[in-house]
């Protein structure tokens, strides 16, 4: 099991470091991506070797990946993409609890904080 999550954001390192505001449980480092490919963000998760924390950290890693994707989406596109199946945007909790791909009713919009 990897302890590591990474994403590349199509912006300069200066800009990425300045805008970085995601809350992740781990050690964060930034690096210039080779060529004209923006900035790499690396997160090394803090975790111990016992089986229970290993199980928990699988979810922790998925959450870190969510945060990295959402940061990239906000910085690159200015918004978090929302589909009908995942109206809050990417969330590990939604992975196996997807809505059907059809528009939300009024009450559901409110619940998702979108009305």
């Amino acid at each position: 099991m990897s302890n590591h999550a990474a994403i590349t954001v199509n912006r300069s390192r200066e800009e990425v470091e300045r805008l970085w505001n995601a809350e992740v449980n781990g050690t964060v480092t930034f690096a210039d991506a080779p060529g004209d490919r923006g900035t790499e963000i690396h997160v090394e998760l803090n975790r111990s070797g016992n089986p229970v924390s290993k199980l928990l950290s699988t979810k922790a890693l998925a959450k870190v990946k969510d945060e990295l994707r959402r940061f990239k989406q906000r910085v690159e596109t200015g918004e978090i993409p929302r589909s009908d199946a995942t109206p809050e945007g990417e969330r590990v909790e939604r992975k196996f609890k997807q809505r059907p791909a059809q528009p939300l009713a009024e009450g559901e919009l409110e619940k998702a904080g979108l009305s």
Binding site: E76, P81, R82, P100, A101
Partner: protein, 392 residues
Amino acid sequence: MKATVWSGRNTVQVENVPDPKILNDRDAIVRITSTAICGSDLHLYDGYVPTMKKGDILGHEFMGEVVEVGRGVDNLQVGDRVVVPFPIACGNCWACRHELYSLCENSNPNAGLAEKMFGHPTAGIFGYSHLTGGYAGGQAEFARVPYADVGPLKLDDDLSDEQVLFLSDIFPTGFMGADFCEITGGEVIAVFGAGPVGQFAIASAVMLGAERVIAIDQYDYRLQMARNRAGATDVINFAEDADVVEQLKALTGGRGPDAVIDAVGMEAAHGHGALHAVDRVKQATRMQSERGHALRDAILACRPGGIVSIIGVYGGLMDKFPTGALMNKGLTVKAGQCHVQHYIKPLYERIRNGDIDPSFVVTHRLELGKAPDAYETFKHKLDECVKVVLKP
């Protein structure tokens, strides 16, 4: 609104669902005037694409009128007539900056799911499973279009819906398949599958200067369309003679086609031998997702040093892939979901110039409410069906 929803294998229904709303600043809402059923919708209908959910609205080929725009959309106005590309693309990420729109790094909010299947996520697609985001599709009265400042093409002429609708997918998809073949003039191109995408791959190969284009299918009416409308110079009906590889070699003086285009994908009907039987059993029992006979033959037929262009849709894993032929013959493979936003404007110009009238593929026109019948007609190739257009 009324929408076509998937409700299990081989079942679609037209149901009343909530109207879509703007959820983000870069969204627009489109009132749909024409929408089509794609061959790849049949892979969903047949239940071969994972991550479908009951209630999913289908459809990724649609056009209509803009009825609402978010604050971040400054290139469209209410009342504009638009065609909407099937891949949802942000326009900002590295892939979009390199015009690889179907590989948009941001538009799929189920990236974690897609990563498990493909190693990396690919772009969001309207109405095309949760693996591509879980977006409601366009076989409906309205659709929400994310990143509407990047995708939709504004139309400013009096071309009919049927002449421009296929800019959403199948014309650019067929064109990309031909574009992959690096045609400079004088080539022989073989196109596996004379369905709607195959027809446009054939027509595009002709437009790009191929000297001979060979269409391969099992239905004479489709091969006739390929010859009479798309411009194929030769046709092979594999229902009459299943040895397509030998027939292609015979037609090319033993060389094989310079490039082969797979416009079939994961449910090849082709092949009558033992291998096809094994494929059918494995696919039916979900031990493999692809029936790959067309692609295998394409690779075996392609001339040494040639190009294999894959635009037919695959979803997972294939057995008995001819790696030896691919490697030893030094073939180049090019593949992908179409980068529609890259091709849409030049192809719109070709329609306006009269180089092509894409409406030639339309055989059936039905009201949206008849979508269940339309899926059955298209799936079983009844009534010489090639392409169905639905009118909401």
